[in-house]
């Protein structure tokens, strides 16, 4: 099948099979996404990040833990591309290994928070009445605390570690998703297509899972991608305060924290992980923007 | 006799993935001091024609024309600032649903006052008097009370009258009404139409009445343009509508169920490809005397 006819096959208005319809919808989304160059850039950066994390042992020029006090605080050079830190460890290698930690944090938080939010928000919006009242008041209570303070309290209670930091971020991050999901549900709940499914005898869980979730999910995904930067920064903040990854783990936030003592004389120690955080956050923001073009139901379709 | 508005070869295009989509494909007509109906189905380009005249087509949509003149003055290539001055002061528009056209958090009267002052530069007190006068002109029985009310407190028919009052306050030469009564109940519709008709007639304005409803237009307008796929396929005097010659117009008329002529099955319009490009029934439409049909 030539390239042109494959494109036509995907873009046809009259798909012949279930698979063609699904692939066609996917391809249309890809075309919209592709037209947003910044989003594409974001995607490339994130693919690189994932690749870096997977192949860290092969890419990293040195061990992230190998100390060499004779070589401490070296500026970027041919030997140490991004310089060395106070213990003489190669910053590039630490950043490469640290991408694993970053991805772990981001991935886990991005999985847990929106799921809790989706569940609570859609149930509240769909059930209405006292269920809605109770669930939303709980959400309000969580929202009333500054997120980072609440996370700090969680970590302080559970003990500082990456896992606990992730847990704390996930448990404090869901309320905005719940609000969003509830708002979406309220607009969908009374739609005619829900009424039509009800008329066919569809049960409430069925309506919720098969009809409402898919519509809420897209706006949640967009929101998560846009929030990703904030999650990375919060995780880095916890690391910076010593409540996240523990030394000698090469967590980016902790690395900045280590470097702040030398920031005037040896700027690269703090700046390199800072740039890494900045790039990844930016990439997620671009990606989120692109996903919004594709997934936002108001823009989708015609 | 000179036309108020003259449109030649108006085109509106939108870029799309499949190439350039032409929503309006070469529309030409003159508007005099008359009531001109523009009829077509959804997607015929009738609303886009109205928007293009007002300069309300948003990018990436593109409007081109050989000529688009208001009282002899070219308005197509005006800078946006100048264009905005014309909108409202010389050409006004009434949209389908007053709910979306009125600011929900502002009193009705204040909105009319603001619109009027924007275009006339009149003082506050004078504008207030004008607003009350306009509310009276659209036959609102208690203008003082309506002046003080918020949009959600008035009915659909009342809202549309308020919109008409607001649009006519600045004394425009042309009123473009895009499905002004489609959101209204039949019993209210007649009243709103009568008000609009009287005002347009008394002030010697030109009216472009965009609608999907053939019978309504036939009853209300002097002259009717029938649009299909972005082109005018037929132009005729409203009173001759039922003697329409273009198969599309005939098909539209026949597909309406009628109380006085019951049928088992309604005739279905078979769209012919040649309607998109074929000859127009009345090629003389651009020469037709504007305003001469009453």
């Amino acid at each position: 099948m030539s390239d042109v006819s494959l494109r036509d096959w995907l873009l046809t208005d009259a798909p012949q099979t279930r698979r063609q319809a699904r692939l066609g919808a996917f391809y249309q989304g890809w075309l919209v996404f592709r037209s947003n160059h910044l989003a594409l850039l974001g995607l490339v950066i994130l693919v690189l990040l994932v690749g870096t994390a997977i192949f860290a042992p092969w890419i990293a020029p040195q061990s992230p833990f190998a100390q060499d006090l004779a070589d401490r605080l070296q500026p970027p050079s041919a030997e140490h591309w991004l310089g060395t830190d106070a213990l003489g460890r190669d910053i590039l290698s630490r950043l490469i290994w640290g991408s694993r930690i970053t991805l772990f944090i981001v991935g886990t938080v991005a999985l847990i928070s929106p799921l809790i939010g989706l569940l609570i928000g859609t149930v509240a919006g769909f059930a209405g009445g006292w269920v809605d009242q109770v669930l939303m008041r709980i959400t309000d209570i969580f929202l009333a605390f500054p997120k980072l303070i609440l996370a700090l309290a969680f970590v302080a209670a559970l003990g500082p570690s990456v896992t606990n930091a992730v847990l704390a971020l996930a448990l404090t991050g869901w309320p905005p998703y719940a609000r969003l999901a509830r708002a979406e549900t309220l607009t969908i709940r009374n739609a005619d297509f829900i009424a039509a499914a009800r008329m066919q005898g569809a049960s409430a869980p069925r309506l919720l899972i098969l009809h409402i979730w898919p519509l809420c999910l897209s706006s949640l995904i967009v929101r998560v991608a846009l929030d990703m930067a904030g999650i990375i920064l919060s995780a880095a903040g916890l690391g910076f305060l010593g409540l996240g990854a523990q030394p000698p783990a090469p967590e980016w936030g902790a690395m900045i924290s280590d470097g702040r003592t030398y920031i005037l004389d040896h700027w690269w120690v703090a700046a390199m992980p800072g740039i890494a955080i900045f790039l990844v956050s930016l990439a997620f923001n671009f990606l989120g923007d692109g996903l919004r073009d594709v997934l936002d139901p108001k823009g989708a379709g015609e | 006799m000179s036309a108020l508005l003259s449109v030649r070869d108006l085109r509106v295009t939108f870029p799309s993935r499949q190439g350039v989509f032409e929503a309006v494909r070469g529309v030409s007509f003159d508007l005099g001091r008359e009531r001109l109906g523009v009829v077509g189905e959804s997607g015929s380009g009738k609303s886009m024609t109205g928007r293009a005249i007002l300069g309300l087509v948003r990018p990436p949509g593109r409007v081109t024309a050989q000529a688009l003149t208001l009282g002899g003055q070219d308005i197509l290539n005006l800078p946006e600032r100048e264009r905005r001055k014309i909108r409202g002061r010389r050409i006004a528009m009434v949209m389908q649903d007053p709910k979306f056209s009125l600011n929900p958090v502002m009193r009705v009267g204040d909105q009319i006052v603001e619109a009027y002052r924007l275009h006339s530069g009149a003082g506050r007190a004078a504008a207030r008097l004008k607003a009350l006068e306009m509310l009276e002109a659209v036959r609102i029985r208690d203008p003082e009370r309506v002046y003080q009310s918020y949009p959600h407190e008035v009915s659909g028919g009342m809202g549309q009258r308020i919109m008409i009052a607001m649009m006519l306050a600045a004394g425009p030469e042309i009123l473009i009404a895009d499905e002004p009564t489609s959101a209204l109940d039949v019993s209210v519709r007649a009243e709103v139409l009568r008000i609009m008709d009287d005002l347009v007639r008394d002030r010697g304005m030109g009216l472009i009445f965009i609608s999907h409803d053939l019978n309504l237009v036939a009853q209300f307008c002097d002259r009717v343009l029938i649009m299909y796929a972005g082109r005018i396929v037929e132009t005729l005097a409203a009173r001759d509508l039922h003697a329409a010659r273009h198969p599309y117009t005939q098909g539209l008329l026949n597909s309406l169920p009628r109380l006085d002529a019951p049928v088992e099955r309604l005739p279905v319009l078979e769209r012919a490809e040649e309607w998109r490009e074929g000859p127009l029934v009345d090629a003389s439409m651009t020469e037709a005397l504007p305003g001469g049909l009453r």
Binding site: A195, Q200 | V186, L252, S255, L256, L259, L269
Partner: protein
């Protein structure tokens, strides 16, 4: 005459709680015979659509006695038997199809819910019955025109082989030429399947075309009942009905 398939006695529907309670329907009595097509005419706010929604179980607060084929209804819950027997077609074809579900998925889910077997074959037949053909099977709603969407909605309503269709202004969002096609489809389907229609519309001509009897609603009450033959012959007595007829005919002054 045989027992009516639908009987409604003293139906009252309200929204909200005092002091904001709005009484949308205030004591409506209706009887629809098996096989006939009954029209309910009124302007917006007359409560005509609310009557349908209350019967369908989509309006939670109502009182009165509603029975479908002998089964008395209560509250907003409806039995599986009701769902098989009664289906509804909504006004806005753009809002009545799930934007992310293909035609195939809509019909397959409906057939599954209705406990039908041989789903593949039935989908093809349903699409043929509503004049769409199998080429439309895997399209998403945004790949369909308004009239095509309404055909899908009708196919969905027919999937469980119902006896009574509630039609809530099924053509008012469509162009007149498409309206004619859908009205013809509804005429044919009723003849082929012996369906009963209860149709709501603001358009007297549409009701006159499709129905044999009609009731006129105003402010939540039925103010007039007449045969369509009387309507056509101009024998309407009620002042409001005459007003509606006059307003819908656009006699050129």
């Amino acid at each position: 005459m045989s027992a009516p398939i639908l009987s409604v006695a003293d139906l009252r529907v309200w929204f909200g709680h005092p002091p904001d309670r709005v009484d949308a329907v205030r004591g409506v009595d209706l009887g629809v015979q098996r096989g006939e097509s009954f029209g309910l005419v009124g302007e917006s706010g007359s409560g005509k659509s609310t009557v349908l929604r209350a019967i369908a179980g989509l309006a939670p607060d109502w009182s009165g006695r509603v029975a479908v084929a002998g089964e008395t209804l209560s509250g907003a819950r409806r039995s599986p038997a009701f769902h098989r027997r009664v289906q509804m077609v909504f006004q806005d074809p753009y809002a009545s199809l799930h934007p992310r579900h293909t035609v195939d998925r809509v019909l397959a889910e409906t057939l599954t819910l209705q406990g039908m077997d041989d789903i593949d074959r039935r989908i093809v037949r349903l699409l043929d019955d509503v004049g769409l053909g199998r080429g439309f099977r895997f399209r998403y709603p945004h790949q369909l025109s308004g009239g095509q969407r309404q055909r899908v909605a009708i196919a969905r309503a027919l999937a469980g082989e119902p006896e009574l269709l509630l039609l809530d202004e099924p053509t008012s969002a469509l162009d007149v030429s498409v309206q004619a096609e859908i009205l013809n489809l509804l005429t044919d389907l009723r003849a082929d399947r012996g369906l009963t229609y209860l149709m709501v519309s603001h358009d007297l001509a549409v009701i006159g075309h499709l129905c044999q009897r009609l009731a006129v609603m105003q402010a939540g009450e039925i103010v007039d009942r007449l045969e369509v033959a009387d309507l056509r012959a101009g024998r309407a007595q009620n002042a409001y009905t005459r007003h509606l007829i006059a307003a819908s005919q656009y006699q050129r002054a």
